[in-house]
Subunit: 218 residues, 2 copies
């Protein structure tokens, strides 16, 4: 697999390809041209060909792409040909929502544990997994081989658990806490800062309102 | 305010500036140099100066930036100098989590309604707001001036409510449903595709593992 030097923009687009290919698969469609995919996905056919060429290209002239094959290959590139064990730190609504998503399980992300500091939650379950005290995190990580920690706790809590996670060899952190994490090289971090996303909306709403007011578009 | 032609990359960085400036404010710090901000935020001082120059620049030579002033100005640029009323469609764990966030309220995003199709939820509350039947969405929107709809429902449900939202003049959609929305120009959409974000993690985990295996970095 030749995936050296792929831009993060391309990687960022792959999950979307996977989503559309999955939809086609579900409809029983076996092959698709870059033109059809282009129309569905609302991007240019040339962009699609360029993106997929990064991986050697999967299309055959005059045939298009084999949906099932392309779906599997993109899955492999995204590392979805293996399983990942994950735990959630923070059993509030967001943590419980993420623990409850069966879609993650289908993609190979296996929900192994959930931790909180609120004693009222200890022993209650999220999709069959018991909520454990955060004080047991260290011993849990020593006994189990966990790939990903999902942080759905406030900022201060997130900063408190980082060392425990890193010291126990966590490979990746999916960070919903509203803080930038400082981790050693080799620990992958993906941030989901929900407030930031919401502010992009407010920016676009006011920008559009200003444009329409000034430019008299109506 | 000169904010024509600002790249979306710059806009995307503004919430992070706001976060760090907010932290400084909380600590009672009144001014900050681009060097200090650079060290805190782990970006170059020249990037900071460039970013803030897009808005005319707020710094004074030899003084640095006035934290409170810069915080307010960036807030204005992001449209945070007014309030936005939002509703949530889908009262599952994720919908309830978003409805419960007091931080959104502090930023001026006011939680006005939450809708679901599950009768068992009708009448129960999320932070003082009653869960209503989705069948009442249309009449609710006609009676209330709502800016933003947050979609925390599955794909098919999301596609079903889009027309109702658009016909009633919704300004923006914060979309957590795993589908791309087709809306008229002028309706702002911000997607949060959680699975896509998780796949970036699995990509980075396997990429790093491959690099270390092949390159014998250890």
């Amino acid at each position: 697999m030749q995936d050296k030097g792929i831009s993060s923009a391309v990687v960022g687009r792959l999950p979307r390809y996977l989503r559309y290919l999955g939809d086609l698969k579900e409809k029983g469609i076996e092959r698709v041209s870059s033109q059809e995919l282009s129309r569905l996905m609302n991007v240019t056919a040339s962009q699609i060909r360029q993106d997929l060429n990064n991986f050697g290209g999967f299309g055959q002239q005059g045939y298009g792409y084999n949906v099932d094959y392309l779906y599997k290959e993109i899955g492999k590139i995204l590392g979805l040909d293996r399983e990942y064990d994950f735990i959630i730190i923070g059993a509030g609504n967001l943590g419980r929502a993420l623990g409850g998503y069966l879609n993650f399980e289908r993609r190979g992300f296996i929900f192994r544990g959930i931790f909180d500091k609120n004693p009222e939650l200890f022993g209650t379950e999220v999709r069959g997994v018991k909520i454990s005290p955060i004080s047991e995190l260290d011993s849990f990580l020593k006994k189990n081989n966990i790939d990903i920690a999902v942080l759905t706790i406030p900022k201060t809590g997130a900063l408190e658990v980082i060392d425990t996670l890193v010291d126990n060899g966590i490979k990746a952190i999916w960070n919903f806490a509203h803080v930038d994490l400082d981790v050693p090289e080799g620990v992958q971090v993906e941030n989901v800062h929900l407030s930031d996303s919401l502010m992009k909306l407010s920016y676009n709403i006011s920008r559009y309102a200003d444009d329409n007011k000034n430019g008299d578009k109506d």
